[in-house]
């Protein structure tokens, strides 16, 4: 199977305090990796390093075979088009309607598309997340779950190869969390994407992940399939599954 993302010996520190130390990771096509960990262990920093929202200090991040840390802005934009990123709160632009939010995402990358095509794309994306009705609403009028779904729709509009989910179920009720987890699976099935899912929601990880990694103090503490880790004797690991 083709390797989509490969991370080798990644290092990152803020103000001389290390956040990530010697991170290694390999994501294959069609595979989902869930990263579990407490707050402040550097999970978000890791995903941000992948799209270079945070500049890593050392190591290598290969996305589709290209080294993200050492490329110019144009190449980076090409890579970013292929890597979708779903932010914690959805990160919808407050001053734009849902439609404008989705259009904004493609206006830069697919300027050659005409208006009807653009509309079709937007509507198709919204239909994928089941929120076509909300097309003319402002983000302020939407609930947290809707925002996340529209955030996902905005990510999907570029048909990415990889999607990075930053805590997709945090702050949602269990039912909505389940819906989001199902949506992640549906998207993977439909577009054959690979994902890295950062979460501390065990249910979500169980539903979506082929592989689970547990992060502690900027390092992967344990890794394996969900059931493997479930049966682990380690107290730290057990704490997540109890």
């Amino acid at each position: 199977m083709e390797t989509v993302i490969e991370i080798k010996h990644l290092e990152k520190a803020f103000n001389d305090i290390p956040v990530l130390t010697d991170i290694n990771l390999e994501l294959k096509r069609g595979e989902n990796i869930a990263i579990l960990g407490k707050s402040g262990t550097g999970k978000s920093v890791l995903t941000k390093c992948i799209v270079r929202l945070v500049q890593a200090d050392d190591g290598e991040v290969l996305v589709l075979g290209n080294d993200v840390l050492r490329m110019d802005d144009e190449q980076l934009n090409e890579i970013r088009k292929k890597v979708g990123y779903l932010f914690q709160g959805g990160a919808l632009y407050d001053s734009m309607t849902v439609r404008e939010n989705l259009e904004f995402q493609i206006r830069r990358t697919q300027l050659e598309k005409n208006k009807t095509e653009l509309r079709q794309l937007v509507e198709e994306s919204l239909e994928n997340v089941g929120l076509l009705d909300a097309i003319n609403k402002m983000p302020g009028e939407l609930s947290g779950g809707m925002k996340k779904r529209i955030g996902l729709a905005r990510t999907l509009i570029l048909k990415p190869k990889v999607i990075l989910y930053d805590e997709p179920t945090t702050g949602l009720d269990p039912v909505t969390s389940g819906e989001i987890s199902e949506l992640i699976l549906a998207v993977q099935e439909k577009y054959n994407t690979s994902s890295i899912i950062i979460t501390h929601d065990i249910k979500c990880a169980k539903m979506t992940a082929n592989q689970v990694k547990i992060m502690k103090d900027g390092k992967f503490y344990a890794e394996g399939t969900f059931s493997e880790l479930c049966e682990s004797d380690d107290q730290e690991v057990k704490a997540y599954f109890s």
Partner: protein, 261 residues
């Protein structure tokens, strides 16, 4: 004693780092002015928004400013028997100093804090990151348009404030004595020269630029966390006001060097 010394050195270091960061940010923003794509739609939107938001405030303040200034200076001028010089004196003080500075301070309070809070919120909710990931540079789309809008609009607002201020001055004079609007205007404009208007206008362009820039900088560099939105709005106002006075100080000296007064 040692801690005091460390404190002073630490705050000095923080101050200089802040100044340097603002300058680097300024450089980046100016580079964005000349980098494609040019977001004229967003620029118009921001310009309209800024003008619309501040115009009534500036009109009222400008009027009161002219009125009060005239009422306050009139007794002294009457003592000297120089009432006829009053419109000229007021015109010069409004056009050269009070109009630009008051307008700029109001804009710092209104626009700079607004931009600071807006960008701070965008930063906290990762909207700026989302924009970055989508291939749109937030520095270009969000910051450069806002800075450009304030740079263009603040001088226009200052002209407006000057005009309303002069009208306020006329109203004040008319309360105390009988003076026709034409006479007032001719007295006021006789005393004004290009040496009054041009340095003041150039000054206001810089005011506008830094009002937008400081607000953007403070929002752009906000920490993650809800309270930092308020903090960035607050420090945007303080820093922008301070920068306005520093620019004013430098501008008065430069115009003195160039025009000789």
């Amino acid at each position: 004693m040692e801690t005091l010394k460390e404190n002073i050195l630490g705050s000095l270091e923080r101050f200089f780092t802040e100044v340097g960061s603002i300058l680097l940010f300024t450089g980046n923003v100016i580079r964005q002015f000349f980098t494609a794509p040019f977001e004229h739609k967003e620029l118009l939107k921001q310009g309209y928004y800024i003008g619309n938001k501040t115009l009534p405030l500036i009109a009222i303040t400008g009027f009161i400013m002219g009125l009060v200034l005239t009422l306050q200076s009139r007794p002294v001028m009457v003592d000297f028997g120089a009432e006829s010089l009053l419109p000229g004196m007021i015109a010069i003080s409004i056009v050269r100093e009070i109009g630009p500075v008051i307008t700029a301070l109001l804009c710092a309070g209104k626009i700079s804090s607004g931009i600071g809070a807006e960008l701070g919120a965008m930063k906290v909710t990762e909207q700026l990151d989302a924009m970055e990931v989508s291939g749109a540079k937030p520095l270009n789309y969000v910051v450069a348009t806002r800075v450009m809008a304030t740079t263009i609009l603040v001088p226009i607002l200052v002209f407006f404030a000057d005009a309303v201020g002069l009208f306020g001055s006329f109203a004040a004079l008319n309360m105390r004595e009988d003076i026709s609007f034409r006479l007032f205007l001719s007295l006021a404009f006789d005393s004004l020269g290009f040496a009054d208007v041009i340095p003041a206008t150039i000054k206001t362009i810089f005011f506008g630029f830094f009002i937008g820039l400081i607000g953007s900088y403070k929002g752009y560099t906000a920490d993650r966390g809800t309270e930092s939105v308020g903090l960035s709005a607050n420090s945007a106002v303080v820093t922008a006001s301070l920068v306005i006075f520093i620019i004013d100080l430098v501008a008065v000296q430069l115009s003195e060097l160039i025009y000789g007064f």
